[in-house]
């Protein structure tokens, strides 16, 4: 088999970045006890808003910042509905996806067929020239490194900071957290907005780097994969990277094998990551002590201070 593992891994890292970004955001949201199924909608809003900003300012960086803001703004709709107006989270998230897909197409009218400014590769003091590790690790644009950095930050935040402890407490048992004087709703809204901005950046990575162009409906289900990755990772930040590379990798590997003339049962192969996710989930849940360390107990439950 003459598949270059090096270039395969390098491509895989790029392919996994949008879903890794979105999944990192969703992890924080779920850790706070909220299930936002609107990731797809927030991603595509980020994709178009980031694209518009980057094209008009000729700066990918501004594009990503605007994408984050746009994703956060859209997620605020979800936050108001679920946190203040106590609407069901599943239904609100689905409505958010529908709304985001439509709005992005309206905003993107007139932006098809435009080339975004290209995102420069990071300069690692010539390390990109190194054999093997060079192309895999040191030849990417800044967002790839940012996405991994973000995972690190989220891990540190959850594990070592007081804020992380509070966030987990809120997700674990909102009644108790409330009794301890924490502002459950405020914390959750911040978490939701963080999730929105991450999803927005993930979407922008699609439209600015990975594809790079704007087309209606271009996220094509990436947001749903991000949701799966959070579960696969059993709410552990580092495992997100593994999950994202696994999910992204299956597609890349499959396409590369095909290009090499191997016949692929494509649809059955595409199921595999989801089945693995279920298995992981089952293993995690079967041990009740371990499960309680990861899956937020209040996930998806509505909180009202006086109830």
């Amino acid at each position: 088999m003459d598949i270059s593992i090096v270039s395969l891994l390098a491509t895989l890292i790029v392919a996994a970045t949008p879903i890794l970004l979105a999944a990192t955001g969703e992890l924080i949201v779920e850790k706070s006890g909220v299930l936002n199924l609107g990731v797809e909608g927030m991603m595509i809003i980020g994709a178009i808003c980031g694209f518009i900003a980057a094209v008009n300012t000729d700066s990918p960086l501004i594009g990503f910042i605007v994408a984050a803001l746009a994703g956060a703004a859209l997620s605020l709709l979800f936050a108001v509905l679920t946190q203040y107006l106590l609407a069901n989270q599943v239904a609100s998230g689905l409505a958010l996806t529908l709304f985001g897909l439509g709005l992005s197409a309206l905003l993107g009218h007139g932006y098809s067929g435009i080339k975004p400014p290209s995102s420069p590769k990071m300069e690692w003091f010539g390390m990109a020239e190194l054999p093997v590790v060079g192309p895999i690790f040191f030849n990417h644009d800044m967002m790839v490194y940012f996405s991994i950095f973000l995972v690190l930050v989220v891990w540190l935040f959850l594990k070592f900071t007081r804020g992380g402890l509070i966030l987990r407490a809120v997700g674990e048992n909102h009644e108790a957290a409330h009794a301890l004087g924490y502002k459950v709703i405020r914390i959750r809204i911040l978490a939701i907005m963080f999730g929105g901005s991450c999803a927005g950046m993930g979407g922008a990575y699609l439209s600015l780097v990975r594809v790079p162009q704007w087309t209606e409906g271009m996220t094509a289900g990436a947001g749903w994969i991000a949701l799966a990755i959070v579960v696969f990772a059993s709410w552990k930040p580092w495992r997100l990277i593994l999950g994202a590379y696994l999910f992204g990798g299956v597609t890349i590997l499959q396409l590369n094998l095909q290009a090499n003339g191997f016949d692929m049962p494509v649809s059955y192969l595409s199921m595999a990551p989801y089945l693995v996710t279920i298995v992981v989930l089952v293993i995690m849940s079967a041990d009740r002590r371990r499960a309680s360390l990861n899956a937020p107990a209040s996930l998806g439950k509505i909180f009202h201070a006086s109830s």
Binding site: A105, K115, R210, Q213, N256, G261
Partner: protein, 357 residues
């Protein structure tokens, strides 16, 4: 229950009459699209055809369209709605609209229907499609000359005759000018998924392809080729804006002449149910401008090939051609008949891999 049934039958009668109730002097033409008109591929070009109809007839026509219509019950409803709103002619532009078109046509015998790429006709249902494989021959010819790695990457959608025909035509033309040429094929199992198409293009380039052809709808592969300094061909629309240097040429679906002619036929009352399969000659398949990267002699030979396809001097499938397993398909000088082409489900000799099942 009986009352209900009576009511329903009454309603059904009115439906039947609905088609006749409309009598306006403007000719109304409806278009049903499977994707968004902003896809810059399949649906985009059909919508360009619609605009051409408006331009050609001005005040004499009124067009309407609905985009992103799912195949199935929704498409049937949209077609019925157009017929009820007085459409005289309805173009249904996706293979999956075949049965719905036939169903609705039965209910509105006075409305003319035109179904793209299907194989079911009726008294008021015509079918039409383009001989895209002729365009594939021309770009295959160019690719055969232009490839330095002798490897052409091909992003395919689904293993249907239309797509397999394109693969074979491109390969035969490329092989003719470059005996060492190889075709690497990736099946994306989608018509439209920009991220996946981009990944497929990347994978092909990594596997040594320096020219990308595609039979999917989005311009993502073109963008990737541009970024990686490879060549590619526009598909369905010209796609120049997505790859100013990467784009060598393109196969353009030009539905305008057909749409204008059929609208005219309805206006004149000469419309008949037909099965049209037009190519470069009739203008349904357009070849985009050649890039300056193509040497003058290749440009000349590609133009000559195009002219020969137009005049009928050459056919994209001219013998001797063997099937992949080595058995003889076309004898020397023999050309393929339309029946075989319409149901093509095998590769020609020299293509590696198998047609997926």
């Amino acid at each position: 229950m009986k009352l209900l049934k009576t009511l329903m039958t009454g309603a059904a009668l009115v439906v039947g009459l609905g088609g006749m109730a409309q009598a306006e002097d403007k000719t109304k033409v409806g278009f049903v699209y499977v994707g968004p008109v902003g896809d810059f591929g399949w649906s985009y070009e059909h919508n360009e055809g619609r605009k051409a109809v408006e331009e050609a007839f001005g005040d004499k026509v009124e067009t309407m369209f609905v985009e992103s219509v799912p195949e199935g019950a929704d498409s049937e409803r949209v077609m019925t709605q157009m017929a009820l709103d007085g459409a005289d002619l309805i173009f249904t532009t996706s293979f999956g609209y075949m049965d719905p078109t036939i169903n609705v046509a039965k209910k509105f015998p006075n409305v003319k229907f035109e179904h793209a790429t299907g194989y079911k006709q009726a008294d008021n249902v015509s079918t039409y499609s383009a001989r895209f494989y002729e365009g594939r021959s021309v770009i295959g010819h160019i690719a055969g000359h232009m490839t330095k790695s002798n490897t052409i990457g091909y992003i395919a959608s689904f293993p249907i005759p239309e797509v397999i025909r394109g693969i074979n035509a491109a390969y035969i033309a490329a092989k003719k000018v470059n005996p060492d040429v190889k075709l690497k094929i990736v099946w994306a199992y989608t018509w439209f998924d920009p991220a996946k198409e981009a990944d497929a293009a990347t994978a092909l380039i990594e596997q040594g392809a320096d020219i990308i052809m595609q039979h999917t709808d989005s311009p993502a592969a073109m963008t990737i080729a541009e970024e990686k300094g490879m060549y590619a061909f526009g598909q369905a629309s010209d796609m120049k804006q997505f790859g100013p240097t990467a784009r060598l040429s393109s196969i353009i679906d030009d539905w305008a002449p057909y749409y204008i002619a059929r609208t005219q036929a309805v206006m004149d009352g000469t419309w008949e149910s037909t099965s049209t399969w037009d190519g470069i000659k009739e203008g349904m398949v357009g070849i985009g401008d050649f890039s300056n990267d193509i040497p003058a002699d290749v440009q000349a030979s590609a133009t000559a090939l195009k002219e020969a396809l137009i005049s009928g001097a050459t056919h994209s499938f001219t013998g001797p051609v063997n099937k992949q397993d080595g058995s003889s398909w076309l004898a020397s000088g023999e050309t393929a008949d339309d029946g075989t082409l319409a149901g093509m489900n095998f590769y020609v000799e020299g293509i590696e891999g198998e047609v997926p099942n």
